[in-house]
């Protein structure tokens, strides 16, 4: 039972506004990811939810209870830190048991709970070691163990995987996802890694400059980015953004570059930014717009191939194409683009049209 409601939450450090009138409702049992570049206020938001950072303005509710001024231990949240933050002088067992000890849980119950958690996280053989004797992945498991042993209704995680190497990150990612399924608790997860956000989240809040840019499901955010920032932040390789205007015939134009748009997409003459995801190209077929371009660079990745191409005079695009396409550098190719999959943004406000 924990729905978290942020009502116009603001955090100021002196003159710096770290989080600006944030409105966010995190549903019970939801996996919410706060995604954004460095310095956008993710950690600050999480710390305010945890009670580690005073809220300058606004209200924070857990279910219907106002917890704005409650200290962390009254909020029944658990937190996992990027730095693991394990107590260095305590063994793994003592680290995991610590929150229960503070709650004066009976000893047999602590033992049982620690054993159970250790089994879940496969760290049973490490219980008598100290944090300094563990690898990064093992440490993060212990930190997770310390969080779940209390069975809190809210989990807060601040970039828990960013100190791990790529393979470990993948396995920890699925571990966290499994934990979420099993615990049925509310997760708030901070990351700047879009792949992590996409795979883990029920919903993503994309942040920038202390403001939420878009709040939606991963699919929604990917398919209908609210502005160019969100569009560019998600997806790898990045979305192609081309500045231009709407030609009299309703197509997109930049110099010699033309691309057909869905009918009535925008007023002719309007300055717009066109967004084309690298993978939204295919073989030419009826109903598809034709895109002609000269291949500049071919990067075969095995499973697929990335092409850097130049269309029109100076429009540089990155395309993701099947590995079977044997494009040569210097060759001119023609591909098909589904106009319905194109994104249009206002050139001045950067907002989606």
């Amino acid at each position: 039972m924990a729905t978290i409601t942020c009502e116009r939450i603001t955090k100021r450090y002196g003159g710096v506004v770290a989080v600006d009138a944030l409105d966010l409702t995190i549903r019970h049992g939801e996996f919410m990811v706060l995604l954004g570049p460095s310095g956008c206020g993710k950690t600050t938001t999480l710390n305010m939810i945890a009670g580690l950072e005073e809220i300058s303005e606004g209200r924070l509710l857990f279910d219907d209870k106002d917890v704005t001024w409650q200290p962390p231990h009254k909020r029944e949240v658990a937190m996992v830190f990027q730095s693991y933050a394990l107590y260095p002088n305590k063994t793994v067992r003592e680290n995991i048991a610590f929150p229960l000890q503070l709650r004066r849980t009976p000893r047999e119950e602590i033992t049982r709970a620690v054993t159970e958690v250790a089994e879940q996280l496969e760290i049973g053989h490490l219980l008598d070691r100290r944090p300094s004797q563990l690898s990064g992945g093992q440490r993060q498991r212990v930190a997770l163990g310390r969080a779940i042993v209390r069975k809190p209704s809210v989990f807060l995680m601040d970039e828990p995987l960013s100190n791990l190497d790529a393979t470990l990150r993948l396995s920890m990612r699925s571990l966290i996802k499994h934990l979420h399924h099993r615990l049925r608790a509310t997760f708030v997860y901070v990351t700047h890694d879009q792949a992590e956000a996409m795979t883990l989240a029920d919903r993503i809040a994309v942040m920038k400059g202390g403001l939420v840019q878009q709040l939606d499901t991963p699919e929604g955010i990917y398919a209908r980015p609210a502005n160019t920032f969100v569009a560019a932040f998600l997806g790898s390789p990045q979305i192609n953004l081309v500045q231009g205007e709407i030609a009299p015939d309703g197509s997109f134009a930049r110099g010699a570059f033309r691309l057909a748009l869905p009918p009535g997409a925008a007023q002719p003459g309007r300055a717009v930014t066109l967004g084309l995801r690298p993978e939204d190209v295919g073989t030419l077929a009826p109903g598809l717009a034709r895109l002609e371009a000269r291949v500049d660079l071919v990067s075969p990745l095995g499973s697929e191939t990335h092409l850097e191409v130049v269309a029109g005079d100076d429009v540089k695009l990155t395309l993701r194409v099947p590995k079977e396409w044997r494009a040569q550098e210097g060759q001119v190719i023609a591909v098909g683009v589904d106009p319905a999959r194109l994104h249009l943004f206002d050139a001045t406000t950067d907002a989606r049209l």
């Binding site: 231990h73 658990a78 937190m79 933050a85 610590f98 929150p99 053989h125």
Partner: protein
């Protein structure tokens, strides 16, 4: 997985002196020579003295007596009196210094207005020469002009001026107070440095885990502070046990024998009675005691880290 953590050092052989090491030896030689002259020579010479019955009133008679001087010390009841005075003084000084240093470090580790100025002020007593410190406190305790008397009388806590240092029950504690005033800042500074190294996330984790201020101190601060505390304890013990200048300036061992400590005894024996042989032997006993005590402290505290 556990195998990777085990370290099994192979048999090590001492390599012959390599080219670099030979050069190093040449370069280090002057320093070693100076140390030998200014440190080793006096140490060895005083040991030689301690094995002879040297009394400066009869300078030409200096028979070799072996360890008689040492044996005589342990039969001397002044020695045992001095040991008990020194013990009280050292325990009080070290305990109060350490406790206060922890408190001050905790306070100054927090951000509050004036924290920087206070930190700078903290260093004033430390920078005061100990002779000046002794004179200052002697004045503060002075029976007729003393600040302490004036203050207590004005506050109505005291009826009449007292000769503070003349009270045998208080003397040692009052001198200890002067020592603490001078020594505490360095200890506090050392602990602050140790505290600054504790990651903030540990405190945040402890807060979320439900630890209150006191529990955070016990479970986060104190364990991290242990190396610093050990250093403070050992260092303070080593210097307090040998304190001399405060006693010379403030009480000269008195009133009666109330502040008759080991270093005072050595001074009296050597430079007032001019019995250099026993004086040197006593110095040796004090030095060995300091050494053994420090070693024991390090062993004992080291095991708990």
């Amino acid at each position: 997985m556990s195998g990777a953590l085990e370290r099994r050092p192979g048999p090590r052989r001492r390599p012959a002196l390599g080219y670099d090491e030979r050069n190093a030896a040449i370069l280090v030689f002057p320093v070693v020579a100076v140390l030998l002259v200014v440190a080793a020579y006096p140490i060895l010479y005083s040991f030689w003295v301690s094995l002879h019955d040297i009394v400066l009133t009869r300078p030409l008679r200096r028979p070799f007596v072996g360890f008689d001087n040492y044996l005589r010390i342990f039969d001397d009841e002044r020695f045992w009196l001095a040991v008990s005075r020194t013990t009280v003084y050292t325990v009080v000084t070290v305990a109060v210094t350490t406790l206060l240093a922890v408190l001050v470090a905790l306070l100054l580790n927090e951000a509050f207005p004036g924290q920087r100025i206070l930190s700078a002020l903290l260093l004033v007593p430390w920078a005061t020469p100990s002779v000046v410190n002794g004179l200052m406190w002697k004045w503060i305790y002075d029976p007729t002009y003393g600040l302490l008397n004036a203050l207590l009388v004005q506050l109505g806590l005291l009826e009449r001026y007292r000769a503070w240092l003349g009270d045998p029950d208080l003397t040692l504690l009052l001198i200890a107070n002067a020592a603490v005033w001078k020594q505490m800042p360095l200890a506090a500074l050392l602990l602050i440095v140790t505290m600054k190294a504790i990651p903030d996330d540990l405190y945040r984790a402890a807060k979320v885990d439900g630890a209150n201020v006191f529990q955070r101190f016990i479970h986060v601060t104190l364990p991290a502070l242990r190396p610093g505390l050990m250093l403070v304890l050992v260092y303070e013990t080593m210097i307090s046990i040998r304190h001399f200048d405060l006693f010379l300036i403030m009480t000269q061992g008195g009133p009666g024998d109330a502040s008759f400590t080991l270093s005072w005894l050595i001074y009296v024996e050597t430079f007032r009675s001019l019995r250099f042989g026993t004086g040197a032997a006593m110095s040796y006993v004090l030095a060995m005691a300091t050494f053994l005590l420090s070693w024991a402290l390090i062993r004992w505290l080291g095991k708990r880290i």
